[in-house]
Symmetry: C2
């Protein structure tokens, strides 16, 4: 592909993205395909000779697009938002154009310093003045927090996953699967993760945490790490961080707060309660790639005192040494990976092009849509609301699991909306998550109509 072809095709791709985002996609929001269908249509070997870009774009439209689930379509209400935006896409494109590796300050000074500043900007608008870095996902950031916690209790421990006593982790029975994954990866062992019971609003019970820690201490184990969730995946439950923090402090446990999706709402002054107690924790994460218009991946990971994290992850072979290592931040020491993309660029584009007020306006619309939708659920005799939505996710069900599941399948099969489910209180629960970049109230109305037609 020469420069002219790149220019021409690049303009075409930009124009296609503009249309895709503007008018929405008119095909199915989730595809009607079965495993293996695309595989059969793709050649088994790469071509010997290069092909023109036109052939690629043609195949992209014919083969790929109809077999995608369109996460950024306003008709997508599944899982959680994974929203992107025009400025985020352009920031990412510039980053791809530069093609740098931001592993150390010296390998990309501007990338490191823009990342430091963007984390300060995010911290400022949510009210947290800790240092931080961008991680790829919440899973990775939670694992990093766990490694820091382990390092703090067993400093410079080269002896393995635990010192003389077994290291124990705690989270609620509503926590994300990434907590168990981190516990397994770090070699702590799933058996040493305590799932603390949650209350009727899916929040961790502080007394139950205290009790579990006491029991482990009596067994001679070493309680070390608590993950509290601000906005659980299933139901947007909120662990009471301000009540958990004193317990963690008293027993010397590292308190990590996972606000992966809900954390974006902390940019709204009226949602200040989301951050209650967080300043007494040790680490905090939220995902601008979920609900803050910064295309995936971009997890904001804050660490009150990153010394233990860096001690756990820093390795300095000769070939990575630079003369700036003493004076500068090398973010590879904050990360599982050595190589790092220049992700701060897309965040910079998003924060500056929207401005704080532009972001707030979008989020308030999503909250309004969720409240309106919950009202419909409550007003309808056949649908039951699981709990009042405090943010953007509405959980509801019909009078039996079979009917709930059939409704969800039928909506999804229409191709005109996409919903996902969970189980709570031993029931099949339908979730509707609001938070698309180009959502309008109309889209919540359309979803409700699709549901009503099927009741």
């Amino acid at each position: 592909m020469n420069t002219d072809e790149f220019r021409r095709t690049g303009h075409q791709v930009i124009d296609w993205i503009a249309d895709y985002m503007e008018s929405g996609y008119t095909g199915r929001v989730s595809p009607d395909t079965t495993p293996g269908e695309l595989l059969k249509l793709l050649p088994e070997s790469p071509p010997r000779q290069g092909e023109p870009a036109e052939a690629l774009l043609e195949d992209f439209h014919q083969l790929i697009l109809p077999r995608m689930t369109h996460w950024n379509d306003p008709r997508f209400f599944g899982y959680f938002p994974c929203n992107h935006s025009r400025p985020g896409i352009l920031g990412d494109l510039l980053s791809a154009g530069l093609g740098v590796n931001a592993m150390s300050w010296a390998t990309s000074p501007a990338a490191t310093e823009l990342e430091i500043r963007m984390m300060q900007w995010l911290g400022r608008i949510i009210g947290l003045d800790w240092p931080g870095c961008i991680q790829d996902t919440a899973s990775t950031a939670t694992l990093c927090a766990l490694l820091a916690a382990r390092e703090r209790l067993n400093p410079m421990n080269e002896d393995g996953a635990y010192g003389k006593r077994r290291f124990v982790c705690y989270t609620s029975d509503q926590a994300h699967s990434s907590v168990l994954k981190a516990v397994r990866i770090a070699g702590v062992g799933g058996r040493y993760l305590r799932l603390i019971p949650s209350d009727s609003e899916f929040a961790m019970r502080p007394y139950a945490l205290e009790e579990a820690i006491q029991q482990d201490l009596q067994k001679g184990l070493q309680p070390g790490f608590v993950t509290a969730t601000v906005g659980t995946t299933s139901s947007t439950g909120f662990d009471p961080v301000a009540r958990l923090a004193p317990i963690c402090r008293h027993h010397g446990l590292w308190l990590h707060v996972d606000a992966a999706m809900a954390g974006s709402a902390a940019i709204l002054p009226e949602m200040g309660w989301l951050m209650e107690g967080v300043d007494q924790a040790d680490s905090y994460l939220f995902n601008p790639h979920k609900w803050l218009f910064t295309n995936f991946d971009c997890t904001a990971f804050f660490c009150r005192r990153p010394r233990h994290l860096k001690q756990a992850l820093a390795i300095q072979p000769e070939y990575l040494k630079t003369r700036h290592d003493a004076a500068a931040e090398n973010f590879r020491d904050w990360s599982l990976q050595l190589g790092r993309r220049f992700r701060a660029l897309k965040l910079w584009f998003v924060l500056r092009c929207y401005g704080v007020e532009g972001l707030q306006q979008k989020l308030r619309l999503h909250l309004k849509m969720a409240r309106w939708f919950a009202e419909q659920v409550k007003a309808c005799p056949q649908t039951s609301l699981l709990l009042e939505p405090r943010l953007n996710t509405v959980c509801f069900h019909l009078d039996s699991d079979e009917r709930s599941e059939a409704l969800l399948q039928s909506v999804n099969q229409s191709g005109q909306a996409f919903l996902t489910h969970t189980r709570l209180n031993d029931r099949y629960i339908i979730r509707a998550s609001f938070g698309q970049t180009h959502s309008r109230v109309k889209h919540a109305e359309d979803l409700w109509r699709l549901i009503e037609e099927r009741l």
Copy 2:
């Protein structure tokens, strides 16, 4: 940013990238900046109101660009290539435009199936018919291999990093720092990583590996995991995989092969020796984001039998269950992270737009440049070649460490080339790595002239 502004700015960004790649950048290849300089120029808070894209682009050119290290400039000879390409950038742009999360088959069927096929394409051109997936970096893939190895020995072990006996890992004293990082993260403990001595060509000594395993068995430990390196970071040394494999098989150890940079050269038939013995290993990785024109990040990770890997990493909470889980591949079960970008798209663009022969042609040019450069080093009385380059990295030195370091600093201070160093045989070694997308023989000549002028 509305659609018109996105279109206009998008075209500008494409045009800028076209120029940046075509004519090369005329500023310094590595910046003349000090830690904190950019930070002082960036406001401490994000704007309240949105700003126009023009302001962003202006600041990108004024503030960011002069403070970058330009990894894709043909004058960059540092570390390793991290090369990108026009088709790779466009594939990545389309992926950003879609903004999907490819965690499960059902969440992006086409992304999963294109990834399966792209891994088969890569496998076919390097001669490996194992299943595989795309990981972000070699660090992550090596950690995944270690977790699979641990799982195979201690199946379904929820009890932590090791069973009754301590799990031991092996690699050479030339291995990448990511091996020690993986050992630490997984909770094995750095003390249980044996650094096997390498020979005069920086290759692991098979007898020394056998001996170390024997010693650990006698101590009652559990030897479990060997990482062999095909192309070490410092000097491109090659561990003799075909001789290590029988030792690993005999003792039941998992053999992982890290060919992060060198592995791209396996697409050349004349480099078939790179893959000798790999078919007897358990897992293999190389980085198309290093030397195969696929913008960072894109690590190709192959796993002969992924059962243990998936057993170690699969967690199935209710909210992630889909009706296709039994029939389809969910790549989240191969990964540390839950969320996954649609990275197969850029690889598809690269493989099809270049064609296999187009890629081979590029790599042969890089190898020719390295050989030419090594000849200059040998012919010059003041420079000594550390060893004959077998691939694209040339290691050399002057008659004292002080003079070698001064030469490197002086070349880098010129801003007209960028080199990095390592230590080998107790000497300060200058490395010149060849592999830029738009490199021409002229660039090797320019580098040699810059060096000669300083001798």
